[in-house]
């Protein structure tokens, strides 16, 4: 099984440690992982802003780079969701092979590898951030709106970590207000949503907020710092490789 590692642009630029953790984690599980160096962005920021035509060449490039792999794995639920849910539409009438086999790291570990143990330890209380596209596009957890059996793949994986205490905030899957350019176009609402979310995470008594999307974590971290609120942010991949 050959894995193409997709480290989305903003993770590459701002959170390289998340990429490194993902690489280490996949390698520690004995997988053949490759990182196509000419990768950049999935196109989501332009698409959500209303410029899909600018995203189309990026989707095409993505497909060319990643089509040869058995799975494409990304430590970013929102980007994986954009590839899987939106690329087929962007590339209608063209080759689109990679989209269907692109997964977020959490679902890859949970659904494909069926990981049941991890030799890692993280003796801290963490509050899980169920990011919107992870929940409602990829199905990483059951959306709170729906009458479906309750599950949460992120929590399933975190429970494999020794010493960890896992909790969820009130309103466990309400949006944190990032939304790409939404955060700058609707800056007041976005900041308010972020603040509300951070406060709910803090109210759990957790030391860390963790989730599968660095974008949400980035947004909440910026809001928390601006407001002088004390809580740390860490990507799920980093916890799953803690001490590895």
């Amino acid at each position: 099984m050959k894995i193409g590692l997709f480290v989305p642009c903003y993770v590459d630029a701002l959170y390289p440690e998340v990429g490194v953790s993902t690489w280490r984690l996949l390698r520690s599980l004995g997988l053949d992982v490759d990182y196509p160096e000419r990768q950049t962005c999935c196109g989501q920021p332009m698409g959500n802003a209303g410029f899909e035509r600018l995203a189309r060449p990026l989707a095409r490039r993505f497909d060319q780079l990643f089509a040869p792999y058995d799975y494409v794995v990304a430590p970013s639920a929102s980007c994986a969701a954009y590839v899987r849910c939106f690329h087929p539409d962007l590339l209608r009438g063209e080759a689109c092979e990679a989209a269907g086999k692109t997964l977020d790291l959490v679902e890859f570990l949970h659904d494909v590898l069926h990981v049941t143990s991890l030799p890692v330890r993280f003796p801290h209380k963490v509050s899980v951030h169920n990011s919107c596209h992870g929940v409602r596009e990829l199905g990483l957890s059951s959306p709170s709106e729906r009458n479906v059996p309750r599950y949460n793949k992120i929590i399933d994986l975190l429970r494999l970590v020794k010493g960890i205490e896992v909790c969820e905030p009130e309103r466990p899957d309400e949006c944190c207000g990032f939304g790409g350019m939404f955060a700058v176009e609707e800056q007041a609402v976005s900041a308010r949503m972020g603040l509300d979310k951070v406060r709910r995470h803090i109210a759990t008594g957790a030391e860390y907020v963790t989730g599968p999307d660095s974008s949400c974590l980035m947004h909440m971290q910026g809001v928390a710092q601006k407001q002088g609120l004390d809580i740390k942010f860490i990507h799920v991949a980093e916890i799953l490789t803690s001490g590895l």
Binding site: A13, G19, Y35, P45, G50, P57, C132, G180, V189
Partner: protein
């Protein structure tokens, strides 16, 4: 980079207490709705059935309308057809004039808001009294609805009390007849009593009652109206003339379909198992008249829109507003269309894309609305698709276009992208005044981003080499 929505929302959020209360009020309704959904094992099957019924009806609408008209006419009802708001207003005015109507009592109808019926009638000297308590409060305060189902929840009891004292002529007399102890002069139970007595006077005096329609049933010609207060029933039990205003998309085929929708309206909208009253009107009162005005006003054009026709499935339950994190934090008046929230963003664009495009910013694409919608309108996807059209419509934000183009230019050139990443950490050492200013919208709510010394791209080779050793 801002829109009329984002600026209004920013102003709204300045009052922290008001904004928090608004958010909590409507999230509480969302939670009640969740409990309703959880209590019915068949909930998701019902949503699918409701969606399919609406799709079926919308794509056979002409046949069903003819059938509905036949049955309603056989039941002794006069059926009228209005192409647009003007024709609708004219038809209603003519019916009222033919009966010398001076005062109309009216239950809640979004269609009449859409067509500005009240203003039109009042210009002709007809008194229109809204009878839904929330709508009546707004009418007296000269405010617009802030929500389609709970239109006045943003108004505070003190303001309602003051308004009643000022505008209800026999307020003191009514207050004296109230027999329950209350310390708060603006106690909601007391104010509701005052409104009850005031409105009962209106029902008794009115010459005509107007209602909307939650559903029209093609098979029988029934009009179904759901209320909690019973005001639609009061409006139609006392005056002899009943005029129904119905958007043509409110039609459903039969009683079997009605079973599905009756179970949904209240559960989705307000988190109740049912509205208190679900009334079926199949003809005029003895000695009275019943008229139904079927209104198109753009709906038949929406049917032809391949991307947005499914908005015709909407039954105006308001669930998408209650769950929308942006609506809850910006409230109804921040939107430029009279229907706010996810469905309002879409309906506004369908009404006039040049007038109402500002609302498109009011969505973080969290997709929660898609999951609460009882008829599965793909609200967030539709907002996403509208955004794709903004540039061609000439309404794209210049800043967003610039940013998107800049990003695309970078991402399409891997070498340039890699080089840029190498120099990105330089931003960290720039004076903060240069990056944290009003030209950088990110720093409005956030601290500035810190770039790491080395991107993943740069660390990658190192990782490979480590492994080789």
């Amino acid at each position: 980079m801002s829109t009329r929505h984002s600026r209004a929302a920013e102003a709204y959020l300045k009052d922290d207490a008001v904004a928090s209360r608004h958010d909590q009020t409507f999230f509480a309704v969302r939670q009640k709705r969740d409990r309703m959904a959880a209590a019915l094992p068949e909930w998701e099957d019902l949503r699918e059935a409701a969606s399919q019924i609406k799709k079926h009806t919308a794509t056979h609408l002409a046949d069903y309308l003819e059938r509905f008209e036949r049955n309603a006419t056989r039941n002794g009802v006069s059926v009228h057809w209005a192409e647009d708001a003007d024709e609708y207003n004219r038809i209603v005015a003519d019916i009222l004039a033919a009966h010398n109507v001076r005062k109309v009592v009216k239950s809640k109808s979004m269609l009449t808001e859409e067509c500005h019926l009240n203003e039109n009638l009042e210009r002709q000297g007809i008194t229109v009294v809204e009878t839904d308590l929330g709508e009546r409060i707004l009418q007296m305060m000269k405010l617009a609805p802030s929500h389609i189902v709970m239109p006045a929840l943003h108004v505070h009891r003190e303001d309602i009390g003051a308004c009643f004292r000022r505008l209800i002529p026999d307020f003191d007399e009514i207050a004296r007849s109230y027999d329950r102890p209350h310390d708060d002069p603006n106690d909601p139970t007391f104010l509701t009593y005052v409104a009850r007595m005031h409105l009962r006077q209106q029902f008794a005096e009115a010459d005509a009652g107007m209602t909307g329609a939650n559903f029209g049933i093609a098979e029988t010609g029934d009009i179904v109206v759901c209320t909690n207060e019973g005001n639609a029933d009061m409006s139609t039990s006392l005056p002899r003339l009943h005029i129904v205003s119905m958007g043509i998309e409110k039609l459903i085929p039969d009683y079997a379909s009605m079973g599905v929708f009756q179970r949904f309206v209240a559960r989705s909208g307000t988190g109740q198992e049912t509205t208190v009253y679900t009334s079926h009107f199949r003809g005029p009162r003895p000695g009275g008249e019943m008229h139904i005005v079927l209104v198109d006003n753009g709906r038949s054009d929406i049917l032809g829109d391949p991307e947005h026709w499914q908005t015709l499935k909407c039954m105006r339950c308001g669930a998408c507003m209650n769950t929308c994190p942006v609506y809850r934090r910006s409230a109804g008046y921040s939107y430029t269309y009279f229907i706010p929230g996810p469905i309002g963003i879409n309906l506004g664009m369908l009404r006039d894309c040049h007038l109402y495009h500002d609302n498109l910013s009011a969505c973080s694409l969290c997709c929660s609305c898609d999951n609460v919608c009882p008829v599965k309108v793909d609200l967030s996807s539709q907002i996403y698709r509208w955004r794709q059209q903004l540039d061609d419509l000439g309404h794209a934000s210049r800043m967003k276009r610039l940013m998107s183009k800049g990003m695309a230019a970078l991402f399409n050139r891997p070498k340039l992208y890699t080089a840029t990443l190498r120099f990105a950490p330089l931003i960290n050492v720039l004076p903060s005044a240069l990056v944290s200013n009003r030209l950088n919208p990110w720093t409005y709510g956030h601290t500035m981003l810190k770039f790491p010394r080395k991107s993943f791209h740069e660390q990658w080779k190192q990782l490979k080499n480590e492994e080789k050793k």
